[in-house]
Subunit: 223 residues, 4 copies
């Protein structure tokens, strides 16, 4: 979907090969293969990074997985670092878009938090590679986490914080605590569920714990 030397998410544009060819039958398996070379590399990178970790991952591994030459990757991405960064951005944006869309049709703040938790865990629970990267690699070092955190995580916290604030305004939630802190507790709890799920053979399926986590966050431990 992206032509070399002008990577970073462009508007839809035909691949070089399909320049002026509008024949629908032509754009079959082969043309399709060309069109998403960018996507193939990105997917391969996610898979390899998840398997081996960013540092242990070799560009040649990614290339092989994506069925391209190593040099080709550099037509689409400036560096190995950018490959990880872009992959995470794309993934996170997809998640946020989905989350925002689904939350619009949800009712009370409490219901919104339940729904978001489900989406959060389903999102990472449905793609182990993704989960590994976001739990492991993304927070690997300030190099990645800090910039990513500032720009992307802030969105997530803002989303949750707004819901919490809304809950306080509407009277359903207790006043007296900072929405920002609540948002972080909420995220931290869910995040830890993902981490545990990755590292252990959990007795519970990941998607099922959303209710339990939200119950604790909403109701607390004490009766």
């Amino acid at each position: 979907m992206n032509a070399p030397k002008s990577s970073k998410r462009q508007t839809k544009k035909s691949t070089p090969r399909s320049k002026s060819i509008a024949a629908s039958t032509e754009s079959g398996a082969s043309a399709q293969a060309e069109r998403d070379k960018y996507k193939r590399i990105l997917d391969a990178a996610v898979a390899i990074f998840a398997e081996k970790g960013f540092n242990a991952a070799r560009i040649s591994d990614v290339a092989t997985r994506a069925s391209v030459a190593a040099g080709t990757i550099y037509l689409y991405f400036k560096s190995k670092d950018e490959l990880l960064t872009v992959a995470m951005q794309a993934i996170f944006e997809g998640f946020m878009a989905r989350a925002r869309a689904e939350l619009q049709s949800t009712g009370t703040p409490a219901e919104k938090l339940r729904q978001l938790a489900r989406i959060h865990l389903e999102h990472l629970g449905s793609n182990r590679d993704l989960a590994v990267i976001s739990q492991m690699e993304l927070r690997h070092s300030a190099r990645f986490l800090a910039p990513f955190s500032r720009q992307q995580m802030a969105e997530y916290f803002a989303l949750v914080g707004d819901i919490v604030r809304q809950g306080q305004d509407q009277g359903g939630f207790r006043p007296g605590f900072l929405p920002e802190i609540a948002a972080k507790c909420y995220f931290g709890a869910l995040d830890e569920m993902v981490t545990s799920w990755l590292l252990n053979q959990p007795v519970y399926p990941l998607s099922d714990v959303a209710e339990s986590v939200v119950d604790i966050i909403l109701l607390g431990l004490e009766s």
Copy 2:
């Protein structure tokens, strides 16, 4: 305190030099010197790993910081990996020992959770290097996180889980949720506070948020 090529926390054992010298005072001073060197390397490793991240950290950096030759590190640690692992183990054991000690004199399960949260945040809040490593490096890759998680984190979760179970048994906590999940929510929430504290200029001091976090976990958001 550690003989070359057999690192991994050994019991006290006289230095090679004392073998033939046998002078007790001599041996004491020398053993002390050995112990110091081992400790110096470990401290230097924590500092350097925190500053640069595990991958960017150089063994020679650690050696310089510890005022030893690079080769000397390999007399005490098998590899760079082991250096990180041992450092984290030592730190975590110190934390757990302190936590268990302080919790013995605490009363109700709720009070125990409040107290543990304070210790948790004070521990990491008082040593930024430590916090950086445990938040960033330790969970960097399955290579480190997995073994550490199995052995060390399990202790933490067991500690919290036991308190929660105790709370449920004593009637103060709601039944109907798994103590394991509660423990992870608890840890995840605190963990995220540390991460946020590291990445942002927080408007709140780290040690102060313990109450807020425990409030949410104990009481929930809903009034």
Copy 3:
């Protein structure tokens, strides 16, 4: 003007397109376009090589400067090496043609040497790119210098040597030295003036030193 894979200055030949079109005016315009493209690439190569040096110069740089695709260059030149070689040959031949023409109308050997020095310095002084390449790149390695030297420089030395020999025969020049050595001294002196001019902010304009240099070569330092 050059067919793919058979570069090295060919005689005029219609473009492939004119083969089947045959329209004379068309063919003329088209051939002109071809000739221009060849020239554009050569000019671009000289400029880029001068700016960045042969090794740092990228074929893609030359292509961009010439407003052609990178692959197109290989229709006109076999390799990057050939591009430099052909560029230098063309330039040198232009210089030699001009020199021979202007010297025909000049009188005594001494006057010829004065006139040639002027042409030499004007030629390189009027095109810094050219000077940079001939001083720096061309003598970069035996790979380029040796073949060039054998074929091209020999002409220059022969020209000067003949003038010197003529001067000796006619009695104006001292006998007792080899014209070949004199020719090299003459060239070396001028060459060094160009080099100095390129590397320094000279207090004298390049074209002005021709007289001084020739004075020294003709009269010597001693009075």
Copy 4:
């Protein structure tokens, strides 16, 4: 002669290996081999650069020639570039020291110029590798030539210029020409002799042409 990580011509200092060993017999072939590892690398670099040219030369070639591992070179030199730069500086300084020493005992300016020409040609004529590098690589690009020229060549030109000025002051040399230009003619003439000697099978031995060149520079072509 230089310990790693503190390269660039240090004062004589025993190699790490010979720390406190003062036994004269010990410092035989083996100790000698250690001591001039720095020198071995430098010599190997000169040879390889001369053979293949700077760009075509491989660090691994130099390492093999010097009988060290590739990585060892980087203990003594920061980069491939520095290797060339240091080599040239060392060589040039050796030449200048020799030249200044020998010229002190020489008489008139004319005699000094004759003597310097002999030294110049002998120096490069006695080591073809050296000559190749100084004629080819050194003037390869502004990157090397410019800095080197400014600092090193300026010394050469100053030396010659001073002699010429002295000749003018003492009345032996014609006034009316700039000593700077004369110095460049002198150098350029000699330089070209070296280049020719390298590129051709000259009919004259390099050291023999010194007289002829100086004759021309001093007496001129005209009788």
